[in-house]
């Protein structure tokens, strides 16, 4: 087909970004919250759930669900952008800052990257600075309700300033690494960092 075909009367389920400054390039606004998963929802019993920080740390540390809920938590109001091009504004979360979690371990000076790993086989890689200074948290509530399993409950990582695939659902732990080990999507062509404002979608972008 020479000239590109356009479907008569089709505009997609998109809203024009009226708050242009808040929508990263190439994104469109949504009101709903799409469910995107690379695998089935793992069945995690809360009495068996643990979150662990291991790898290049002096002593690994691990929290049970009850212990995790006793950690100081905060309310976050953040905008979320998914690499599949939707952006959702003002999402309200309750969770524990990664800063708080890192206070419980002493990092080996060689540690430069984190592999966030989930129940199931999902992993994603992040440079440590992207997780510090309250830029990232482990959320267990969204909109004042427990995080639902299809959205990553009981708990997920949230890193709002990067594309949402970095916000690993069903989070199980952090492994501190000296070298960056590319995660589930990063090792198949997605960008190693994924900054939506720079449109870092694919490796080479």
């Amino acid at each position: 087909m020479g000239e590109r075909f356009v479907s008569r009367g089709f505009f997609g389920r998109r809203r024009q970004p009226e708050q242009a400054g808040r929508i990263p390039p190439g994104q469109y606004l949504v009101d709903d919250w799409p469910v995107l998963s690379a695998g089935p929802t793992p069945r995690i019993r809360l009495d068996q759930w643990r979150f662990t920080i291991e790898g290049l740390v002096r002593q690994p540390v691990s929290w049970s669900w009850d212990e995790f809920l006793k950690l100081p938590s905060k309310t976050y109001l953040v905008d979320i952008s998914c690499v599949t091009k939707w952006t959702k504004l003002d999402m309200k979360w309750q969770g524990v800052s990664v800063d708080t979690l890192f206070q419980a371990v002493s990092l080996d000076p060689r540690a430069a990257f984190v592999t966030a790993y989930s129940y199931g086989d999902y992993t994603t890689n992040l440079p440590i600075p992207d997780l510090l200074n309250d830029q990232a948290f482990i959320a267990y509530q969204q909109d004042e309700k427990p995080l639902t399993p299809e959205h990553g409950g009981p708990a997920r990582l949230v890193v709002p300033h990067l594309y949402f695939w970095k916000s690993a659902k069903w989070i199980q732990g952090f492994r501190l690494e000296e070298r960056e080990r590319l995660g589930f999507w990063e090792n198949l062509g997605y960008h190693r960092r994924g900054d939506p404002w720079k449109e870092e979608r694919y490796s080479g972008d």
Partner: protein, 246 residues
């Protein structure tokens, strides 16, 4: 067969309201090829700014219908493609699509039977293509459709299925209503379960070929139960219909 699957522009020649939530679109294809019952087409929508999205829709018509296909589409209220097809598309509109696609969930009279078709909701669409193919090919293969629907209003192809029943063509239809049954209904009024499948399969000859299509939970439950009733797993064909995939 080594060609890429090409997109082509079909023309909508007929739109039929099947139920309050489902419409059948007849689409004439310039590059028509005979499909196998059970296959699907991909539909691609393109916005003026280049944004594209695509979905797969099962073919409802039989391969004996030449030059066009019928796609039955359930309207998913928060979907992107099915509301467009339902609310915007008119006769003579062009639709970009490619197919037929699929070599797993397919049936041809040459494969034989008896045929056990288990459908949930709009999962009955590819099963209807199998029934229509069987009728068009004048086959006498024993055929049974177990059709799970929410309510009588949701039954697709009700008149045609009733006619097949009445004419003693060897196509039997059993309904089970999961929410609301018709007044005076004495048949099944629950989700598909092992007892139901046992009752149905006991009425069929040996060497059964089951095709199961519907929401993932129905498909898993039916496939597991059929296996436990002694049907080899490799013979059970399944297709999951997602709420957004259709």
């Amino acid at each position: 067969m080594a060609d890429a699957l090409r997109w082509q522009l079909g023309t909508v020649t007929e739109i039929h309201q099947e139920t309050p939530r489902a419409k059948t679109f007849t689409i004439a294809l310039p590059d028509w090829t005979a499909h196998h019952a059970g296959q699907h087409y991909d539909i691609r929508l393109t916005a003026p700014d280049g944004y594209q999205t695509q979905r797969s829709y099962s073919i409802a018509s039989e391969p004996e219908q030449q030059g066009s296909i019928e796609l039955t589409v359930e309207r998913i209220d928060d979907g992107e493609v099915s509301p467009y097809l339902h609310d915007v598309v008119q006769l003579k509109d062009e639709i970009e699509l490619r197919g037929p696609i699929g070599g797993y969930f397919i049936w041809d009279v040459a494969l034989g039977g008896p045929l056990l078709l288990v459908g949930g909701g709009s999962g009955v669409v590819p099963l209807m293509a199998m029934i229509r193919h069987r009728v068009a090919a004048r086959s006498s293969i024993q055929t049974r459709l177990l059709y799970s629907v929410r309510s009588p209003d949701d039954v697709l192809y009700a008149t045609e299925l009733q006619m097949l029943q009445d004419h003693g063509e060897g196509v039997d239809v059993t309904y089970t209503y999961t929410r609301q049954a018709p007044a005076g209904w004495t048949g099944f009024h629950r989700r598909i379960d092992r007892a139901m499948l046992k009752e149905i399969t006991s009425q069929l000859e040996a060497g059964l070929r089951p095709y199961v299509c519907g929401p993932t939970l129905l498909v898993e439950a039916a496939a597991n139960n059929l296996q436990e009733l002694g049907i080899p797993a490799g013979r059970i064909r399944t297709e999951r219909f997602g709420p957004s995939g259709t």
